[in-house]
């Protein structure tokens, strides 16, 4: 195995680790509303979401193609650049998980790759039009649409069922949340697992294993990304579940259904057209919309504000870390030593932080 192949193996392992943290981090998006409205028991909700995330990863490859060809110039980047971008994304994901903030794994990934590419090959290697048209504008539009859809949907719901027996209505919407939660998990797998697939494809192109002009996403890439995100989802992230499920606002079953319906509709439509948007931002938008549609003061705008700050910081912060990590790997030369040293240091840091947080953490109330 030569140096290039060794770096490729490290990159694929890191990409799958990122995919795992993505599932781990974003489980909250998928299951929090179902758990907080008691539509599903926590254990069942997480297992259900894991299975549907796995299935969702096989549905579409539009987003993977966008990541692999529309954001950075595949010709200008190396496997070390992709490695640095992935480490930037993982660091940001773990930092926001540590503080319980539902930030965007997708923007962390894109930011990390863009930052490392900028450090390695300069601004010319970044497709500004792809970044703006496929990432930044949809990043603004999608959560706003989810907010409006969630708000309008809940107003219509209350108009229709407002005078019916509360017990029947709650039971009905709890039943509906099993379907809407399932759709949301499917949508999450479809959009998010593809981002990892796109990065692995980018690494395969950079190492000469795939042609830039004409590539198909290999089946092993799809299957491994699907498995990693499903495992991460199953492991769960209870800290963020609590923020999403109860801290933005206390939801009833109708609001949970509206928020999940809004999120699933926006993510599935975006995946179909190849926009790699943030599922976290979309679902947060839906949750806030379903609260604001009932009563503006029902939303804890302070918590919502923290989430918005995390949204804004994600791209530049991950880009900065990605660029920094690339710089560190270059201290050890162009070979595999830099990525190896960073991987080992990263694993030690993650193990220490994870151990401390798990010991300090507390499970969400069932």
């Amino acid at each position: 195995m030569d140096s290039t192949d060794l770096i490729l193996v490290i990159v694929v392992a890191t990409a799958l680790a990122f995919d795992f943290t993505n599932g781990f981090h974003d489980t909250a998006n998928v299951v929090a509303t179902s758990i907080s409205t008691r539509a599903m028991a926590p254990g069942f909700a997480v297992g259900f979401a894991a299975v549907l995330n796995f299935v969702g990863a096989f549905i579409s490859l539009e987003v993977a193609a966008t990541i692999a060809s529309d954001v950075v110039d595949p010709e200008s980047i190396t496997t070390t650049v992709i490695f640095a971008g992935l480490v930037g994304a993982i660091c940001w994901n773990l930092m926001t998980w540590y503080f319980g903030l539902p930030s965007s794994s997708s923007h962390a990934l894109i930011g990390g790759v863009v930052g490392a590419t900028f450090a390695a090959a300069g601004a010319d290697a970044i497709f500004g039009d792809g970044l703006l048209g496929k990432v930044l504008i949809p990043a603004l539009v999608a959560p706003t649409v989810a907010f409006l859809v969630g708000a309008i949907a809940i107003v219509i719901c209350y108009r229709i069922v407002g005078r019916q027996r509360p017990g029947t209505v709650t039971r009905g919407f709890r039943g509906g949340q099993i379907v809407s939660g399932g759709l949301l998990a499917l949508a999450h797998g479809t959009n998010d697992a593809q981002k990892t697939m796109g990065v692995i494809v980018l690494a395969l192109i950079a190492s000469g294993h795939l042609s830039e002009s004409n590539f198909d996403v290999p089946f092993w890439v799809v299957a491994s990304a699907a498995t990693a995100i499903a495992l991460g989802t199953y492991m769960g992230g209870w800290r963020i579940i609590r923020t999403m499920g109860t801290r933005i606002h206390k939801m009833d079953a109708a609001q949970g259904f509206s928020a999940q319906g809004a999120g699933a509709a926006v993510i599935l439509a975006s995946s179909h057209y190849g926009f790699p948007l943030s599922t976290t931002q979309v679902i947060s938008g839906g949750v806030m919309g379903s609260g604001a549609g009932k009563r503006l003061s029902a939303v804890r705008w302070g918590v919502a504000g923290n989430i918005v700050v995390a949204w804004i910081l994600t791209l530049p912060a991950a880009a900065g870390i990605g660029a920094l990590v690339y710089g560190v790997t270059q201290i050890f030369g162009d070979g595999a030593l830099g990525p190896l040293v960073v991987s080992i240091a990263g694993l030690i840091a993650v193990a220490v932080a994870f151990g401390r947080r798990v010991r300090a953490g507390e499970p969400v109330p069932a």
């Binding site: 549905i59 579409s60 490859l61 539009e62 500004g128 039009d129 703006l132 048209g133 496929k134 504008i137 949809p138 539009v141 999608a142 649409v145 989810a146 409006l148 859809v149 969630g150 309008i152 949907a153 809940i154 219509i156 719901c157 229709i160 069922v161 019916q164 027996r165 029947t168 209505v169 009905g172 919407f173 509906g176 379907v179 759709l183 479809t190 109708a254 259904f257 509206s258 319906g261 809004a262 699933a264 509709a265 926006v266 599935l268 439509a269 975006s270 995946s271 179909h272 057209y273 190849g274 926009f275």
Partner: protein
């Protein structure tokens, strides 16, 4: 925004696809939620009418509930078929 900047943004952003995404999101998100609420309304009315022995009204309510559920199921199946056709 200057004319040049406007033209640049118009070229870079795929407004047509973004517009379709927004329209599909509104239609599916609001439509399915409303249809499901109608199904719950029908189900709630059905149990009330049946309790008060109003057979015709109960049948009508059951029909409304079934129609609402059929619209939801149809929309979900249509969405999945569109996604699988990628």
């Amino acid at each position: 925004m200057t004319d040049v900047a406007q033209a640049l943004v118009a070229t870079i952003v795929e407004w047509s696809e973004l517009g379709k995404t927004v329209a599909a999101s509104f239609l599916a998100g609001v439509g399915v939620t409303a249809a499901f609420a109608i199904a719950i309304f029908g189900a709630a009315q059905f149990s009330e009418r049946r309790r008060s022995d109003e057979a015709v009204a109960a049948f009508g309510a059951a029909l409304i509930a079934a129609l609402g559920l059929a619209v939801c199921a149809g929309a979900i199946v249509f969405g999945l078929i569109v996604m699988l056709s990628d």
